[in-house]
Symmetry: D2
Subunit: 325 residues, 4 copies
């Protein structure tokens, strides 16, 4: 089927490529004409403005917006909706806050425009491995887009099937789900990222302890100089902690156990934060997920004010003088 | 080669079976004669006492102890060492504290007996999938046992090879490593379990938030009734959080999304605790791993004293009267 | 000076009483006529409707709203503002979210009505000890109300003066501050409560460890049966952890070391949650404050879904069967 | 009565001074002859060796060791015990691990020497304010030293008495308790310090959020430029979070709100770590106390290995390139 794509960065561009390879057609638009040209070469139909883009789409239109979450996505959805008509569908495949989806879907309902939110995991590997997709929206709109999702998803592959799933929605094992009404897709994707932070931090702490197993704080007979690349590798086979993140860890450590070139400064994106906000709203204790987020905040601080205040108190009650950092 | 096995529970018994299947021979002993009989039927040579067991082993002996960590293992190692001689090897394959390995290896050194500690991951799946092994001990002793480890390990299987490992120790991708001197094997296994706790808790919190996404605390337009079995399944394909623990989660939720039959009481074993002790000794901030451990402690409490004290303070300063639980 | 008070619960009623005792006058209103009657007896002028209340206030009016944060406060402020005129002042002394203050102040600005937010700490003890107040709003409006704040505040009392404060705003040591523009008062009060949660949890955990110092998990020679009431009492004198919360703890434990009558169910109010949201918005790692909040969430759960999922995974990889809770 | 003091640093020296002021006598020894001379001038009897020290003490002897916990205290106690006789008492007033007390008391029992452990809080303020003491040991030995403890303790002072303590051990409100057998004193002191870490961290986080309330991450209308010195000061009067640590915070911020001169590097001492070990041994979830400890560990790291590993994973799955720190 035909899909329109706005935003031809790494994610948007590769999604179009994966669709074209499987026989779908695509109309594409981006602020950057070179990005459009590259996909035209790959077989897509290029547009040079939003108006042109909408015009070139067959009715009922399906326009996928793949832009940075926030103001850019917001204004694009608004502009698109002004050009589209009843029964068209706008798909937000970015990392939007699910509350924004709920609001937008409500606003577009009056015009009869469908709004579908797609949480997409897969990153730079999606073109080859396929994209894991969590989808929110009206059943009719989601069902109509099924050929697109079926192509983009990884498929069953050689991953063993889960026993006990007989008779359940077969899309899940293909790698996509219709999670619920508008917002549900990005909600599930948000939690996915929250979990991701927790998993990453668990590995990071474990390897940190392994790394410091030769610390001079330890009695000499209990110091170990471990090969962390081999540890990561061995856990990939038969251990309880095997995972894709561990595979990536093993790759990173294979050639660079000291992790040279990384500064220790770690960014976070909205989903990790929103996950905590959601947990608090639901009164669910999200201890590990919060800790993981906070460690990233902390990684970006130098000479934290909170730590200075601890030293000031220590000086106050005990006359302690901290060493210079 | 020949291996002696003391302790024929699920782990010890299956290790022997996997060895026998691959052409090795085994002498086996257990307090329970039926356990011995079952393995004799599978092809092992049975012993009816520790003395008999030692006598039946060819020189230099290799005796694997697969018993509960703590006093039982301690006294068995002691008794065994009294019956063995220089150049024999005692292998502790249980979940011993690595500090105990260091001590025991030192004690046995005087007698010329080798001591090898093997941290073993794989649980009930090991017979089929193989065991992931982290090994500590003298190079000579570990090398001599290599045929045993090679058989027990999972092997490369169909897991993609890690790029950049060319020229590195090939045992790691077979599923076993010689981590370092005595104690290093159990140290690495200990951290493995510490990470395991953190990973599990990350998933548990994420699914807890998904589960409560239909909470009445939320505004109606932002409530979702999600199919958690499908969420777990979809993440298995192409997502960043795919892992073996997620596979198990998907299996558990496929047929029993409410997790009926589980009380919410969660045990912990020594490794999770020792991991935190090790982190503290090294001054490594193990925030997520500690939180995961504490959540298990908390799962086993009713009407926690600490919580009662919070209520007592709240009554003191604000006259707040908590509802009955 | 004259103050109007809407909401004559424990807080509102006692604030009026403290004002009357010091020679101020008050117009009072409450949905409950008995609450009005009680304060009329104490010397206030009663009103039987919001209209009557506004009418009885001298120009420029000062109306203090002391109602539950949320819809009730919102609608009352809205109704009041419809009856008031330029240069009047509305004071929100409840536990409103500071973002609501910012919004309301902006809305009222068009009408020329001042909006002052007062975060008030002191609880049931305020009538005797005075109220610690954190105030947000325009300088003119806050200054005009100074006689009210001066009466309500605790005053210097016998608390030693902080060295180095010479030349600084003397109101702080009287027990009230003008923290900044509208919203700043409730913002500071919000953080106050966030800290309060952290402090309480620190004591709660410490006493929990003391309480379990006779645990059978410990080696007999390291078990202690401690008198927690005496411990709390001794720390009140000369120790680093002395505080008002410790005073309350000592009182609670003096007569009831087992804390009988408390169920272990602990409520939380908005401020603790908003504190975490604010920390996340600022990217400040609020590890302890979050943990304290989560422990309260957890105190209200039975057979947590997250814990059940841990058990399900443990069963999956290790065949572990958890005991019934 | 007469007390011997070994170790005349800030703590030991001031303890002797407070005793001399109240009419007691003291024999003193220190490796540093100048420290001895200073106290001789203050009225103590000086010793120039451990032998001399023991000789100058009247029978039954009472020798207080006030030295750094660990090897120095250990060897001094050992040397002392070799010179003393049955019914003499050794007091360890330092910050020893309570398990060491249990062991030492057992070892000395054979010789009939009493061993009393005294956890002492009060720091640089003790000479003036008195010392809060938590004491472990045999009843007879502790009772015999009562005149010393009574002098060192702060006394009731002007701190209000706790209602409901009628008929309970009056020593607690004087500022000292006999907590239990040997080890109990340092155990209680250890938890005191654990709580101290938690309280400090709660304040530190709260002030950190206040400090960043003017962050550019926030919408302009919700930014506040707060006077943190005034906030600390106002909370000292009538608020729920008033405490001695808050008094110290107010002092620190009064003249130096930016906390210039503090590097952000925060040390920790043994007690905070032992508290966590004890909690784990008891299976008590010490979430806040652990977080507080870990924040100190983290304050001392630059470019943490764990954070680098997070970046390596992020690069692996998403191609993310972290900025330089």
């Amino acid at each position: 089927m035909q899909l329109g794509m706005i935003g031809l960065g790494r994610m948007g561009g590769n999604i179009v490529r994966r669709l074209l390879r499987d026989g779908h057609t695509a109309v594409v638009f981006d602020q950057n004409p070179e990005a459009v040209a590259a996909l035209v070469e790959a077989g897509a139909l290029g547009a040079d403005s939003l108006e042109d883009f909408v015009q070139k789409l067959a009715l009922p239109r399906a326009a996928w917006v793949m832009l940075p979450a926030g103001p850019v996505t917001e204004s694009t959805v608004k502009a698109l909706s002004g050009l589209m008509q009843a029964d068209d569908t706008i798909i937000d495949g970015g990392n939007s806050f699910y509350g924004d989806d709920v609001r937008r879907a409500g606003e577009l309902k009056g015009q009869g425009i469908h709004y579908v939110d797609v949480g997409t995991s897969g990153g730079v590997w999606g073109l080859e491995r396929g994209y894991c997709m969590m989808i929110g929206g009206d059943k009719a709109a989601v069902d109509r887009l099924d050929p697109v999702f079926a192509t983009l998803a990884p498929g069953i592959g050689d991953i063993p099937r889960t026993p006990g799933r007989e008779g359940r929605d077969p899309r899940a094992e293909q790698g996509y789900i219709h999670a619920g009404p508008s917002g549900a897709g990005h909600f599930v994707k948000m939690i996915h990222n929250g979990i991701e932070y927790g998993l990453m931090q668990a590995y990071a702490e474990g390897f940190d302890i392994l790394k410091h197993a030769d610390s001079e704080n330890l009695p000499p007979e209990r110091r170990f100089d471990l090969d962390l690349g081999d540890v990561a590798e061995v856990w990939r086979r038969g251990s309880v902690v095997s995972s894709w993140l561990l595979d990536l860890t093993a790759s990173a450590l294979a050639g660079n156990e000291e992790l040279d070139g990384f500064s220790g400064y770690v960014e976070d994106s909205g989903e990790g934060r929103w996950t905590i906000n959601a947990a608090i709203e639901e009164a669910v204790p999200a201890t590990v997920l919060s800790s993981a987020l906070y460690r990233r905040f902390r990684s970006r601080e130098h000479a934290s004010y909170s730590d200075k205040l601890l030293s000031a108190m220590r000086k106050g009650f005990g006359g302690h003088q901290e060493p210079k950092a």
